[in-house]
C-alpha cells in the first residue's frame, strides 16, 4: 500500500527546490515511479516515513536532451524511451543506448528515468556502467547552490549517494570522446525481458597501432555498486593487444571483483562468467576495430 501522502507538482525548478528545502527528509522525489511505487507495495525500508511526494514530471527542463559545446546534457527526468530514440545519444554514446534498451520492458522504459536509475544507487542499475565509462558528470541543485560531481564520486555505497535531502539531480553530462573509441555493453539477467541484472559490464577501448591508448572498464550488479576499475585500466594502458593480454586482464578483473565483493555463494558461477565475458568483449572490440 502507498502510505497517506501529500503530493506536489512543481512546474519549475525554483518551486521544486523550495519544496525540497521545506520538507527535507519527509519528502521524496518521484519521477517515473517504477522504483518508489513498487517499493511502497513491497514495504521497502527505503521508503519508510515519507509524508510528501514531489513529482518531477511537470518540469519540462528536466526532460530535455541537448547538445552542449563539449558533449550532451541529459535531463535527469528523461525517460529511457526518450534516451533510446535520441539520435545524438545513439550516435555519440551507443553503450548508453544499448544499456537503456535492456532496462525493464517497454512499459517500464516509458516511465523510468535515467536519474531515477542511479539516485537510489541500486547495484543492478543498468545505465550506470555505461555512464561510468563515459565519465558522466552530474549536476545537483539546492536552494543555495549548484554543484557538479562525477557519477563515480556521487555513488558512495549500496543505496547511498552524496545527495542531500534538500537537493535534486538535474542533469547528466557526457563529454564527447575523441575519435576511434570502440566499446561493448553486456547484461546478464535471469531472462531477457524485465530482468534484474546479475552481471553488467561496459568496456570502452581506444587502440593506436595495436597499443591500448585508453581503456575504461565498469561493472554493475556483480560489484556492490557500479564501479570503474581504475588500476586495471592503468595496467592495460600502453600495452600491445594480444590474446595473452586479454586473458591476463580478464583474470585480473576477476580478482578485483572478488576483492570488492568477498566470496559470495554465487561467486563460483559468476566469476568465470565475468572473466569469459570480459575476454570475449575485448576480442570482439578488437575484431570489429580491425574491420574499420
Amino acid at each position: 500500500m502507498i502510505p497517506k501522502i501529500e503530493y506536489f507538482s512543481p512546474v519549475n525548478l525554483t518551486e521544486l527546490l523550495k519544496l525540497l528545502d521545506r520538507h527535507q527528509q519527509a519528502a521524496k522525489i518521484i519521477a517515473g515511479g517504477t522504483d518508489i511505487i513498487a517499493g511502497f507495495h513491497q514495504g521497502s525500508a527505503r521508503f519508510k516515513g515519507i509524508k510528501y511526494l514531489i513529482d518531477l514530471n511537470w518540469i519540462d527542463e528536466l526532460k530535455k536532451v541537448e547538445l552542449s559545446s563539449d558533449g550532451i546534457v541529459i535531463g535527469s527526468a528523461a525517460s529511457f524511451s526518450e534516451i533510446l530514440k535520441n539520435e545524438l545519444i545513439n550516435h555519440h554514446f551507443p553503450l548508453l543506448s544499448t544499456a537503456a534498451s535492456r532496462v525493464g520492458s517497454v512499459q517500464i522504459r516509458n516511465r523510468a528515468t535515467i536519474g531515477g536509475n542511479f539516485v537510489n544507487n541500486a547495484p543492478c542499475a543498468d545505465s550506470v556502467p555505461a555512464l561510468l565509462v563515459y565519465d558522466a558528470e552530474i549536476r545537483i541543485r539546492s536552494v543555495e547552490a549548484e554543484r557538479a560531481v562525477s557519477l563515480a564520486d556521487f555513488l558512495l555505497k549500496p543505496y547511498q549517494t552524496q545527495l542531500r535531502s534538500d537537493e535534486v539531480v538535474t542533469q547528466i553530462r557526457l563529454p564527447f570522446l575523441s575519435e576511434n573509441y570502440l566499446g561493448d555493453f553486456y547484461k546478464l539477467g535471469r531472462r531477457r525481458g524485465v530482468a534484474i541484472s546479475r552481471i553488467t559490464l561496459a568496456v570502452l577501448m581506444k587502440l593506436v597501432e595495436s597499443k591500448i591508448d585508453d581503456i575504461r572498464i565498469a561493472s554493475g550488479a556483480v560489484t556492490p555498486i557500479g564501479k570503474r576499475f581504475v588500476s586495471l585500466e592503468q595496467f592495460a594502458r600502453g600495452k600491445t593487444v594480444s590474446d595473452h593480454l586479454y586473458r591476463e586482464l580478464a583474470r585480473m578483473l576477476g580478482n578485483e571483483i572478488l576483492d570488492a565483493t568477498g566470496l559470495r555463494w554465487s561467486s563460483a558461477y559468476k566469476l568465470p562468467v565475468v572473466q569469459q565475458t570480459f575476454y570475449q568483449q575485448l576480442q570482439h572490440i578488437y575484431q570489429t576495430g580491425n574491420l574499420r
Binding site: M1, I2, P3, K4, I5, E6, Y7, S9, I30, G32, G33, T34, I37, A38, H41, Q42, L53, D55, N57, S81, G104, S105, V106, Q107, I108, N110, R111, R192, G193, V194
Partner: protein
C-alpha cells in the same frame, strides 16, 4: 489531502476527486468500474495492468493517480466501437491467443501501442513490445501471430 483529476478516459473527458496515494490502476478499477485492466504483480513485472497513456504503453500499477492529470488514457474497454470488437481483438480470437484471459487486456494494450506507432512491425518488434507482458497459459506464439496479422492503420 483530496485532489481533483481531469483526464480523458477512452475518449471521454472526466473529472473526479481522489486521494493522491492511489494508482491509476485503482482509479480505473474502483472509481470507474473499468475492471478489464487487471492487477497481477503490482510491481511492474507482469504487464497485466498495461494501459495506453498519451500513446504509450504503461503499467497502471506504477502510475500515481495525480500523474494522470491532463492525460489521455485508453483501456481495453476503449478498443471496441459500437459493440464491435476491434480487429486486434478479433485476431486474438481467431488465433486462439486467449486461454485464461488474465494477460489478454494487457497484451492487447501493448500490441495497440506498438501498432499505432508502427503499423507493420517485424516479429522481433512484436516480441520486444510484449516482453513486459507475462502469459502463463497459451505461450506466446498465438499472441504474436495475432498481432502480426493486425497490420495497417489500427485506429
Amino acid at each position: 489531502m483530496t485532489i481533483e483529476l481531469n483526464f480523458t478516459i477512452n475518449e471521454k473527458k472526466i473529472t473526479l476527486k481522489t486521494e493522491p496515494n492511489r494508482r491509476l490502476l485503482d482509479i480505473l478499477r474502483q472509481e470507474l468500474n473499468l475492471t478489464g485492466t487487471k492487477e497481477g504483480c503490482a510491481i511492474g513485472e507482469c504487464g497485466a495492468c498495461t494501459v495506453v497513456m498519451n500513446g504509450k504503453a504503461v503499467n497502471s500499477c506504477l502510475v500515481l493517480a495525480p500523474q494522470i492529470n491532463g492525460a489521455e488514457i485508453l483501456t481495453v474497454e476503449g478498443l471496441e466501437k459500437d459493440q464491435r470488437l476491434h480487429f486486434l481483438q478479433e485476431n486474438f480470437l481467431k488465433h486462439g491467443a486467449v486461454q485464461c484471459g488474465f494477460c489478454t487486456p494487457g497484451m492487447l494494450m501493448s500490441a495497440y501501442a506498438l501498432l499505432s506507432k508502427n503499423p507493420n512491425p517485424t516479429e522481433a518488434e512484436v516480441k520486444e513490445a510484449i516482453a513486459g507482458n507475462l502469459c502463463r497459459c497459451t505461450g506466446y506464439k498465438q499472441i504474436i501471430d495475432a498481432i502480426l496479422e493486425t497490420e495497417g492503420d489500427i485506429k
